[in-house]
Amino acid sequence: MILARLVPAGVVGLILFFLAFPIVVVTVVSFSEATYLTFPPPAFGFRWYETYFSNPDWLNPTWVSLWVAAAVVVLATFLGTLAALGIARLPKAMRIFATGLILSPLIVPGIVVAIGIYYAYSHYGLVGTPIAMVLAHTCLAVPFVVTSVTASLSGIDPRLEQASLSLGATPGATFWQVTLPLIRPGVLVGALFAFITSFDELIVALFISGTGAVTLPRRMWDDLRFQIDPTIAAVSTLTIVLTVTLMGAAHLLRKRSQA
């Protein structure tokens, strides 16, 4: 009896450990005092965090990533919300077509999208500019906003908008006073995902960040290729903390909007 319950629990435990192990290793190593990547570390300290916060080679890409992600959040949230509102009003066949088109950057393999973006942007001389990063990441982030806002919209009783109109609110007033407040959780969740999508993105960055717009993931990639330095573990841990915090916020927002 006890064995019958312990075996599945053990299997699940192993799977969870397997999934979390890389994160655990990276986090532990980031607090290492050793000058090379080794596990388990001989002693613990914050020296690699100090290195990160004092080295412009790390800080500059961090600022690039944050600025790009911030611009992507603004653009993708605006465009994605409008797209979701428009799609909801289309006839069914066109709705499926438009949704497919918008989601295509997620469906097509990332490398294919990256190559396409690289060719297109180099034609316009955009490669290596922060604008290129913002535009490319916006394409990748818009689907998340559209999906999230569409889910919020589908949960709204269409009679609420009719009620607002019947009570004398113009279509504009109805949007600001009824529709937007009701889809706000979906919009915020979409914005968080847009941020994470941009902040974590590597493949497109490899192709188009050039030397003028090196983002943090790109810098980490270069670092791994040319040297092995535990600073990368510290950077990774900070990135994990940021991403987990944002995901947690998104989860809370979703729960609140369902309540």
Binding site: Q162, A163, L165, S166, G168, T170, T174
Partner: protein, 368 residues
């Protein structure tokens, strides 16, 4: 409030529907509806689902555009006017209260759109809450209210800006029977307090009979009959109305002659007299209708009215239902009928298989 009976003609809008049509793809949801709704009237659009009653209401509200025909409010066509300019109150089926706003903010919403200053708004909202017997509930959110309370808030919100016309789309449909009956009476009171025109949509014939000044029975996108509850119940114009409002017996008969506006028809060998507005020809095959509670056993103590129609029947089913007994009867030609008799310990119950004579008044017999 309390100014009951002030059915001042000026406070309610009159509504005229002229040959109104709404076509979806190839289906005519509303197929040529013409109706004059009087100022201050409580008019109910009654019909089964798909009869076009809700589509008609949505066109009056402005959420649907008519395919053809016209809608005039106080003599002015509103077909081209967007819903937010029509100044019509509307209560929706599931109330459609704004979940992100408090009760006060919900009721204040139409006032805010009209630029009513805050202090004035608060006063009007408080008055509206009092009108629907919910003072002190202003700070709550809709989800903290029961279904009946939400319904009252929806009514308060729809009348707070003093519209001259109130539309209601099955507003009591989601509530349990007891509450529904209380709110029906409250709607009547509200109607006489406000003195404005009500257009009410329901599929519940009892609700329609209880509340309305007039009922328009709709079927297949058309108005089958318009009239007071008594008109529709006592003098249904066709078989659909007779069957939809209350319970009816239908007797196949052949016309044998006329006496003034009373038709004499042969039914299962007996001559039955029926009220008939038209002039059917001798030999026409027709259907007569009667209400089960207006039939009596000919030898019963309840039987007092004259002149009488009479028919011989066999009892096929007998059910005691407390306040009354319900009998299924069969005439010689196979026609089934229902007879409802008020129950009394002094009256003998009929047994199944028993032969009996039934009788009923000519005024309660209608040719449809």
């Amino acid at each position: 409030m309390g100014e009951a009976g002030m059915n001042d003609a000026g406070r309610g809008a009159s509504v005229t529907l002229a040959d109104l049509e709404k076509r979806y793809d190839r289906v005519n949801a509303v197929d040529g509806v013409s109706l004059d709704i009087l100022s201050g009237e409580f008019l109910t659009l009654l019909g089964p689902s798909g009869s076009g009653k809700t589509s008609t209401l949505m066109m009056i509200a402005g959420f649907e555009t008519p395919t053809a025909g016209d809608i005039a409010i106080d003599g002015t066509s509103v077909v081209a006017m967007p819903p937010y300019r029509r100044n019509i109150g509307m209560v929706f089926q599931n109330y459609a209260l704004f979940p992100h706003l408090t009760v006060d903010e919900n009721i204040g919403f139409p006032l805010k759109q009209r630029g009513v200053p805050k202090a004035e708004r608060a006063k009007l909202v408080a008055e509206a809450l009092e009108l629907v017997h919910l003072p002190g509930y202003g700070e709550r959110y809709p989800r903290q209210l029961s279904g009946g309370q939400q319904q009252r808030v929806a009514v308060a919100r729809a009348v707070v800006f003093k519209p001259r016309l109130l539309l209601m789309d099955e507003p009591l449909g989601a509530l349990d029977k007891q509450l529904r009956e209380n709110l029906q009476l409250e709607m009547r009171r509200l109607h006489s307090d406000l003195g404005i025109t009500f257009i009410y949509v329901t599929h519940d014939q009892e609700e329609a009979l209880t509340m309305s000044d007039r009922i328009a029975v709709m079927n297949d996108g058309k108005v089958a009959q318009v009239g007071s509850p008594e008109d529709l119940y006592d003098r249904p114009s066709d078989r659909f109305v007779a069957g939809f409002i209350g319970e009816s017996n239908f007797l196949p008969a052949i016309v044998r002659g006329m006496e003034d506006d009373v038709v004499i028809a042969e039914c299962d060998g007996a001559l039955i007299r029926a009220m008939c507005p038209g002039r059917p020809a001798s030999g026409d095959k027709v259907t007569l209708t009667t209400r089960p509670e207006r039939l009596r056993f000919a030898d019963s103590a309840w039987n007092a009215t004259t002149p009488q129609n009479r028919l011989s029947v066999t009892v096929t089913e007998a059910v005691f239902a407390g306040e009354r007994c319900r009998y299924m009867l069969q005439a010689g030609d196979g026609t089934s009928m229902v007879l409802k008799e008020p129950s009394s310990a002094a009256i003998r119950r009929r047994a199944i298989g028993e032969r009996a004579e039934i009788s009923w008044s000519v005024a309660d017999t209608i040719l449809v």
